[in-house]
Symmetry: C2
Subunit: 710 residues, 2 copies
């Protein structure tokens, strides 16, 4: 059975829970979790299981799972790894399908642990068990009043859901949420993800979860935060995330960008990290917000949970200090937002009621001596303005500033209009006192203007994504690769090679309907001269399965425009071929030289997300400008057009400074063809054409490279 087939309702909303390893010892996990379950107000039945106790915390304690009077919906394992495996079969035989395993000592703990995890997976499969963990902190369901963790948690119920692969980070989030009065709906830690991974949880939330009533004063969505150290089954993740993101924002913190970080992860959870750029592309496609750090994640958690995302990019700023307002403006412009332009009525209204030297443009400077009523007036006026989608209120503690009173007035006003409001109160000790007033009213409070803007910008990015018609994943019908192309693959496979020679690669893409320049193998000087006469200038290159990067080793001669140069180049390349290893299919290829804009198109296989296409500037430009535009395959014409038009090389293709435009529709056609070929020919590991040369009339695959899977 597929692990996705079982319902998770009774795992996260059980009517009865057993705790294996329940203990009286207050330092033990088996005590902590039992205590948490009781304290959280769980309404279902609780069964401690432990052969060494008769009762724990006033509850009857059972020696063996099989002795339990009923079959619990959920069994929680607070026992060492080895024992967990032994007991798992007992639990399964009793009929319990939902398991939570805290125990460490599995995959994260070397080879021996890995063996244990395999055993766990085997038993899960055999009995059809949902297993959360191992090596996790458990979960919290605040609406069911169930704290099934061994950590201090925030018991406040809210609209925020969370998935954390790390238990340590979860405990930091709990402590932080407690401080900020941030409530959760369900908070699930997934640890080693032996059976249930993030996709299983997302599927549960998408299809099964009970829709809890919205809590007053919170935002109109159920945001999902995620901390992941690895992503599994990326294609499914995209599908699920895309569906959820249409209504509820997902924000994710996923470390591992750097090579050093990759090392740390592999020694940490034993999971491997895919290419970060591919992940970025996938998240973008799925409308998922990526956090730039822990602070970003915390800020977004609070903001998404408390305030509706803005309906547009226009931000109004009200401040009692010029400097911080200017800083705010900087960050607004740098992060894809706009300073709202007020209409004349608003300006007149502000002018009439604010002091002479106050600024009635945006940012509104209410001046240093502003008391709470002046703030109140300005906020009311600005929030009524149609061009304003969100508001940031900045306060610095001047000697006369009514900090707490202003906070209270903002709290009252902010929820009146359905616009996004954030407060930036700058300072330390004095400011801290008024934070509570704002946070208990669920108004996001920030200490620094840039933090409010960064979070606001990401909220708007998400909202914008939901407004654009989210493209459905393309249904993709595997093409039949033409026979001529199949023959070439077969030939390379028969030779027990994985690398195509230049000519083979050229013939392959040609057979698939992709245009290549006029070309042939040089069998004699005479023949070459004949070809040259019809095609000057020509290019000569070595074709060999032993050469992948020809140009670097002097195996490409361009600009050959007469017989002399041609003969010289032939003898030069012949010498190079003589030096190639045996069986490397060395020969010389002559090709008409094409002039135009050079681009690169490549498809690689990503471990998590499958075939991914890259498009960008080619030739010399490829090394000068970072122009990597990724798309997860398949890709259709309109996505390919978007890919091209958003690239950095596009201005050249469109026709730079009076040059005629290139045949962009031919380029798009080539991209779609290549992506179809790459998807359909499952034997191919990597295919790259660098350059594709785009002229006014055509797009030519000049130098394809193809590598088969080994």
């Amino acid at each position: 059975m597929r692990k996705s087939d079982r319902s998770l309702i009774k795992l996260f909303n059980p009517d009865s829970v057993a705790i294996l390893g329940a203990s009286r010892d207050k330092r033990k996990i088996g005590h902590l979790v039992l205590n948490n379950i009781i304290q959280s107000g769980f309404k279902g039945k609780i069964f401690p299981v432990n052969p060494n106790s008769k009762s724990v915390e006033g509850l009857v304690c059972y020696a063996h799972y099989k002795n339990l009077p009923v079959t619990p919906d959920l069994a929680i394992f607070a026992v060492p790894a080895e024992l967990a495996i032994t007991l798992l079969e007992d639990v399964a035989l009793k009929g319990t399908k939902n398991i939570l395993i805290f125990s460490a000592g599995f995959k994260e703990a070397g080879l021996e642990g890995e063996r244990k995890q395999l055993k766990l997976q085997f038993i899960s499969k055999k009995y059809g068990l949902n297993i959360l963990g191992p090596n996790c902190l458990g979960f919290v369901n605040n609406f069911e009043k169930l704290n099934a963790t061994f950590s201090r948690t925030s018991g406040e119920a809210g609209n925020l859901r969370f998935i954390s692969q790390s238990g340590a980070l979860a405990s930091a989030i709990f402590d932080w949420a407690d401080d900020f009065q941030l409530g959760f709906d369900e908070f699930i830690t997934i640890g080693n993800k032996a059976v249930l991974n993030e996709n299983a949880i997302l599927r549960y939330w998408l299809k099964e979860t009970k829709k809890h009533k919205f809590v007053a004063g919170l935002s109109n969505c159920r945001p999902i935060g995620m901390y992941l150290e690895s992503v599994e089954d990326g294609r499914e993740f995209i599908e699920l995330a895309k569906k959820i993101s249409l209504h509820d924002p997902i924000f994710i913190l996923k470390p591992g960008k750097s090579s050093g970080a990759r090392k740390a992860i592999s020694s940490h959870t034993g999971s491997m990290v895919g290419d970060d750029a591919v992940l970025d592309c996938a998240l973008k496609e799925a409308g998922v917000t990526r956090c730039d750090g822990v602070e970003d994640m915390f800020d977004l958690a609070k903001f998404f949970s408390w305030e509706n995302a803005p309906e547009g990019p226009n931000v109004a700023v009200i401040s009692n200090a010029g400097g911080p307002a200017v800083i705010c403006s900087d960050f607004i412009e740098e992060n894809g937002l706009k300073l709202a332009e007020f209409n004349e009525n608003t300006k007149a209204e502000l002018k009439k009621n604010l002091p002479e030297f106050a600024s009635v443009l945006n940012p509104v400077d209410v001046l240093g001596d502003a008391l709470s009523d002046r703030y109140e007036f300005a906020i009311n006026t600005v929030l009524c303005e149609k061009n304003v989608h969100s508001l940031v209120v900045i306060l610095t503690p001047q000697i006369m500033t009514e900090i707490e009173l202003t906070a209270q007035k903002i709290a009252k006003l902010a929820k009146k209009y359905r616009k996004t409001v954030a407060c930036v109160f700058m300072g330390g000790k004095i400011i801290r006192k008024c934070r509570d007033a704002l946070e208990s009213s669920k108004i996001p409070f920030f200490r620094y203007p840039e933090r409010a803007i960064m979070a606001l910008a990401k909220m708007w990015q998400w909202k914008k994504w939901t407004k654009q018609k989210a493209e459905k994943r393309l249904s993709f019908h595997l093409l039949t690769i033409p026979n001529a192309a199949k023959q070439i693959i077969k030939k390379v496979e028969n030779d027990k090679r994985s690398v195509f020679s230049g000519i083979e690669a050229s013939d392959f893409v040609g057979a698939c309907g992709i245009k290549t320049p006029a070309s042939r193998i040089v069998n004699s000087n005479h023949e070459a001269i004949g070809f040259g006469g019809k095609n000057w200038p020509v290019v000569l290159k070595t074709s060999s399965s032993a050469l992948i990067h020809k140009a670097d080793s002097g195996n490409v001669v361009t600009g050959i425009s007469d017989t002399n140069k041609l003969l010289k180049a032939i003898s030069e390349l012949s010498r190079k071929i003589a030096r190639l290893p045996k069986n490397s299919n060395g020969s010389i290829q002559i090709q008409k030289q094409i002039f135009g804009v050079e681009v690169i198109i490549g498809v690689k296989e990503d471990k998590n997300f499958g075939k991914v296409l890259m498009f960008g500037a080619g030739g010399a430009l490829a090394e000068l400008i970072s122009d990597k535009n990724l798309a997860i395959l398949p890709i259709n014409k309109s996505s390919a057009e978007k890919l091209v038009s958003e690239s950095r090389v596009f201005p050249l293709l469109r026709g730079y400074r009076g040059q005629k435009p290139c045949a962009i529709e031919k380029l798009v056609d080539l991209i779609v063809k290549l992506s179809n070929v790459a998807q359909s020919a499952s034997e191919i590991q990597e295919i790259e054409i660098n350059p594709v040369i785009v002229t006014e009339k055509e797009a030519y695959a000049v130098d394809p490279k193809i590598i088969l899977k080994k």
Copy 2:
């Protein structure tokens, strides 16, 4: 007299102070400042001045300044703008040279205010007065125990100095510093900078300031923080900052990157903002750290003040949670730092004493159940390691974590070794309690790993700068512009033009010793054909003082390789010339076409920093890649080489993929020549050559544009 000639010692370290406008009314600034001075423990004499009171706060109050029994070192104006101007002359006549003016209503308040500020400057000049403000918050000198502000401030003495143009931001910093137990040396707000600007303060700190004893537990330097909304006299700023930065780090927050922000500033302080990229370049040259936001500034204030900057880039990380350690690693690699590699001894020592599954590589994972002694052992071991320059200790609140005890142990250990240490304790309520332990021991505390790393990276950037021999400003001897070049300037001036025609510009740079391609004016078809015959392929272009961007309007025809094409192009351009406005010096220029790498070199006049040179990729590339490399002139050969080698176009110049390298030494020579010309010919507002074409043997100025000052 220059405003820089007077000593500021008695302004900031007065033996006697008079307060004009001293008041009993507790809401008045005249009361607040008097009270602050008394409360801060000022040891000198205090003279309230106010015709309406006999005594204020138990001190004799004088009706008129002239009645004072002595001449105070410092007069503080807590009176409205108009009155301040009236009283200023009285104060000057009494002999007081140092003035602090709080009053608003000057330049920031429209035309009328600007007039008042000019009057202030006039009186200052007449009597040789040092004036701080107006429109400022005053200053604090914690070692002299003088709080000459009307704000709540932090009274703790420390090594941090600060200049703030904004009083509002200053009050936020005071509140924040109070909360974080951060002490100041001198904190000076400069407001409208009518007389004393940031350079005057830096000069005072560089040459005059009393060197206060270092406070135990703080860093070995006297950091300077700055918040500026405008920079004045940029050249002097660079000089001063460069000297100070060798010993004491300067970090600056300067908003105004975006156009919207510029608008907000001009409505705020009336000051204009220079080009932000030029400022960045100047700060880099002067070793000044630029803050990316308010949080960055606060983080650096604390970190620079409490910890010595790291002596190298290698960071060790110790954590009780894998996830945050990985996030840390990401930020370390992204910000120019390195994860330290431990030597075998260290690894063995860690392996021996840490639990089996702990990671003894860097990051060191002491595991979730680490108590304070395990942290203590790991910190000791890692700080002894030679390859470690700095340490970040991460803690997440697990159920068994000894948070406060661990904080105490870190505090004890951190100051033992002379290495940079930061703590990242993640969470909220529980974590908050232990913050005090760390901060009262002056250990920087962060809530998020990325914040510690960002600040650490900037500290290392500064330290690295001090280690590289800071280049002295080049002494520059004005060149004599050759007569032939002078004649061209004169001709353009006589025509009452500011724009050179293409031919004039070409001739000008040629006369200055810069190589241009073979070229002449087309007087007849016959002559042009003769030139072509010797130079195919050639380029034809329109030369006119009415055309600055020729290529965009089709006024350049390239690749002319035979007589037919040439004649066709001549008649085409002739038609275009006929359509130009009268007196625009229209003619056709024929030029040998040069093939090579195209770069752009330009010099512009920056308001704050004078002549600035830009170098980067030219031609089509200029629009595709952002390759702006700036240098503040003058520039010598080695700086020019550095500019070229750090550019993004450099890989092309060096020889891309088997191409022969370009004549980089000729390019460098051209850059130095052009910079000399631009510096020496003060008539020139802007000079740009786009492209300079660099071949294997030469660098040609193909298309110079020159604009004179109006």
